[in-house]
Structures are given as C-alpha cells and as structure tokens.
C-alpha cells in the first residue's frame, strides 16, 4: 500500500521555483555581461599575462577559446555564432543562451541586478525557515559525517547493501547542502558585489582578499560553473528517482512514498 505524505510547505515550493527562474536568468544575463569583455584574469586590473580564460574570434567565421594558454577552436559555440537576429557574429557566448539574445550589455546588467535580489531573498527565506523549523541543524555537515561520505556513495553505486546510519538527511545530502547553500551561493553573491566600484569603496579589504577586481570576476564565473554542476546533479537525481512524483511534490507539496520508503 503506497502512502502519500505532505512533504513541502508553500514557502519551500514558491521559493524553489522562484530560485529556478532567478538562477536561469542570472546565468543567461551573466553570460551576456561576460560577452562585453570575454576574458578572465587572475589579477586586480586587467592583465593579459595572467589570463585564465579568453573567448575570441581571430578571423570572421572562426571562434576560439583559450584556457590557461591552450587554444581550442569552438566555432558555432564560443567566439563565433548566432547573433540572435538571424545572422552570425563574433561573440563569446551564443545568442541562444544569453538574455537578451542579441548583444545588449545595458539590459543584461538590468536583468542580472534585479534577479540577484530575487535570489538573495530566496536564500534568506530558505535559511530563516531552516532555522525556524529546526532543519538547519540536521542539514549542516559535521566532522562526524565525513567518514560516512564514501560508504553513502558506495551504497548509491550499489557497492554496499545498506546506507550508513544517518538522520533526516544522509551524509552526501548534508555535504551538498552545506557546500552549495552555505559556501558557494554566498561566495557567488560576495564575489559579484566585489566587482562593483561602489562596494569596493566601502569594503576595500574584501576585493583585496579575493585578489582584486578581475580575480573577483574569475571567482564569480567559477561559482556559476559550480552551481551549474550542482544543478546538473540535482536534475539527474530528480529524473532518475520518479520524476513525476518529484515534480508533483514540488508543485502540490504531496509526495507518494514508495513501498520501502519511510516517512521523513
């Protein structure tokens, strides 16, 4: 007999989907902003000698991507591709992934800075509700969880019959919630703020600590890559563990337990 439980409250569901929209917009508008100066330097001021990533178009019709001095031809994807208006042009990230699709730094920045606030509101809501409902303590990774990380992974890989004993969240869940929610997401906000001259004037040491303005831009981009990685893993898990039930739960709040699942 399968049973249905009420798993997600309205606040969780609304902030989850709001966060999905905000994250999509922040990535797309962020790539639009990146396109205005498609280089990342490990330095304070721009410095080609410390260039980590550069996307360009050496000649019409050719796109190249240079990572740590190694150049790859990436025509059609990076450096040269659709201009969003039916033609092709030199641009780092292609039109189909940027907001707006055509080159428009001014509006890209507007979108980015509006949805940055939405993302921050989602994050604060999430942390406050985790504190209020007592989940925060169950969610944070503790030193005692570290030896259980591999046994949990081994269980997922079917190398082990039983998961290691754990509370509401298993050690891998705790590790990813802690890393994403309390390390990477805040760092993405902080590194983004460090790019702004107004914040730099208020909090000089922050930008200095990050290695300077261009370095902050590199960290900000790296943070986005890590969040995209989390998004990919999350999506994989949802799609492989009963996608209809999972989606339904995040929309209506009601989750159907499978036969061996315990209520949690």
């Amino acid at each position: 007999m399968k049973r249905t439980i009420y798993r997600y409250g309205p606040l969780t569901r609304v902030s989850h989907w709001l966060w999905v929209i905000a994250f999509g917009v922040l990535v797309s508008s962020g790539l639009q902003i990146f396109n205005a100066s498609p280089h990342l330097d490990a330095s304070d001021k721009s410095n080609p000698a410390r260039r980590v990533l550069s996307i360009g178009s050496p000649t019409d019709g050719v796109g190249t991507t240079t990572v740590f001095g190694h150049t790859f031809t990436t025509t059609g994807w990076l450096g040269w591709g659709s201009d969003g208006m039916g033609g092709a042009t030199a641009r780092a990230f292609p039109a189909w992934i940027t907001i707006p699709s055509y080159q428009d730094l001014a509006d890209g920045r507007r979108w980015h800075f509006f949805f940055a606030w939405i993302a921050i509101v989602c994050w604060v809501t999430w942390v406050i509700s985790a504190i209020v409902n007592g989940n925060l303590k169950k969610m944070l990774l503790r030193p005692s969880d570290i030896p259980k990380l591999w046994p949990m992974q081994a269980y997922y890989l079917k190398l082990r019959k039983e998961p290691p004993p754990h509370g509401l969240y298993n050690p891998l869940q705790k590790a990813s919630y802690t890393a994403i929610g309390f390390v990477i997401a805040p760092l993405v906000v902080i590194t983004g703020l460090a790019l702004s001259p107004g914040i730099d004037a208020i909090a000089n040491p922050l930008t200095v600590l990050l290695g300077g303005r261009q370095f902050a831009r590199l960290w900000h981009f790296t943070g986005m890559i890590l969040l995209l990685g989390f998004f990919a893993i999350h999506l994989f898990q949802v799609l492989t563990q009963g996608v209809v039930n999972q989606l339904n739960a995040m929309i209506t709040g009601r989750y159907r337990l499978s036969e061996h699942e315990v209520e949690s």
Partner: protein
C-alpha cells in the same frame, strides 16, 4: 534513454531562458520593474567610502583608450593647435557666480593626485595616476544656488551621429573627495585621446561616469529635460545613472 532525457531537459531548461527573456526585454511595463532595482542598489550601496589608492608601481603606462573618438571638429582641433590657450571651463546654470576658467587658472589651484583603478562597465580595469583639481573646489568658486541638485558635464565629443556626450552627478557625489577634474595622466598633461584638456575622474563609479573632454559644468535642479532625460549619454541607452555597481 534516461541520459538523453536528462541532457535534453538540462539544455532546454537553460536555452528556454533566452527566448522568453528576449521577448520580455521588449515589454516596457516589465522592464520598468526590472529597471527599478537601480533605486534599491543606490539606496543600499550609495556613494560612501573611498576608492583604493595604489602605489606608483601599479600604474598602466599605456592607459587603455576607450569611448568615443577624439573630437575632430574645427573647434576642438583649434583648441589643440594652440595648446588649449583659448580653452575655458565654463561653470554656469544654477550658480551665484558664473565661471570661465582657463587651464592656467585650473593649474594654479590646489592639485590633487590619485592613483586609482578605472573600472569599465564592460568588465575590464586599468590603473592610472591622475592629477588635477577637486571638483568640489571648482564648484565652490561658482557657489551653486540652493535649487541646484545636479552638476551636468557637457563634453566636446559626440557619438558620430551628432549626439554630444554628457554625464551628471548629484551634489553629494560631486563632493566626494576623489571626484577630480583631471588635467594630467601618468605625470603628463592629458593627450587628446585621453580627454584633453580636462576629464572627470569618479573612481567610486563605473568608467562611463568619468567623462572626457569636459567643456562645461552646468548646475541644474533636474536633468529630465536634457537630451534623453536620463542624466547621461549611456544612461539614455539604458545604463544605470547610479554607476556604483
């Protein structure tokens, strides 16, 4: 099968943002909401603190030239030809004492030197050593009237289609001690490409605020009736008037 579904959903979720976003980007009412974040940013960050000052070793000797082309009209070329002897920085509008300051006058005033980073809205940064007169000292000579709220910088360059460059600061931003009317870059008088003879430096905001080829400071109560009405050339193209972020 599952892998294909996974890859397809991941790609379509990301690629779905762009067309929807682009469609909304043309919706005026929606974009008014999006643009409203600027007010929040200005309220939260504002203009406080000082931009970091660097040691001389940090200076970019070949400071990047960006922005509009050096003015090529007869008026500007005439000023260049006689070494800006006929140049006057006009300070007028809502002021008690209109000023027309020669370069010699500006050079005789107290000079400030700053080695600061120029942060372009495009994302790049460069460091230069700038010397010149504090904006607040020049404004003090003209004595802004009580109805003056903004100083509008009228420049000698244009976008190639006849629209002249201009910028504006409110009087709080103009009083910021690093807001400088720069006369030199890296120890030499500004060359035409870098905004000769006078350019603005506002290191606590993005580079487009730091107008080059400044000819006139006009004090106004509102910039709503100037050009596109948003307080600056790039502001009229959708960029933020508050350029601290």
């Amino acid at each position: 099968m599952k892998r294909r579904i996974f890859l397809a959903s991941a790609a379509s979720l990301l690629a779905g943002c762009a067309p929807i976003g682009t469609a909304l980007n043309n919706n005026m009412a929606f974009m008014r909401v999006i643009y409203s974040a600027e007010k929040l940013d200005e309220a939260v960050i504002g203009t406080r603190g000082l931009a970091r000052e660097y040691p001389p070793s940090a200076v970019d000797r070949n400071f990047r030239v960006n922005g509009f082309a050096t003015p090529s009209d007869a008026l500007y070329q005439g000023l260049v030809a006689d070494d800006f002897r006929n140049y006057r920085l006009v300070v007028d509008g809502a002021v008690e004492r209109r000023q027309a300051l020669s370069l010699a006058h500006l050079r005789a005033m107290t000079q400030q030197t700053q080695i600061t980073r120029h942060d372009c809205v495009e994302g790049w940064s460069a460091i230069g050593e700038w010397s010149g007169v504090r904006l607040s000292d020049v404004l003090a000579l003209a004595q802004p009237r009580s109805d003056a709220r903004y100083v509008v910088f009228r420049c000698m360059d244009n976008d190639g289609q006849g629209t002249m460059y201009y910028e504006s600061l409110d009087l709080h931003q103009a009083a910021q001690p690093q807001a400088l009317l720069a006369l030199t870059l890296n120890g030499a008088p500004l060359d035409p490409a870098h905004g000769a003879p006078v350019r603005l430096r506002v290191p606590t905001q993005l580079g487009y605020k730091s107008a080059k080829w400044v000819a006139r400071l006009e004090l106004v109560g509102s910039y709503a009736n100037i050009e596109g009405g948003h307080g600056g050339y790039w502001e009229d193209q959708g960029y933020e008037w508050y350029a601290g972020i």
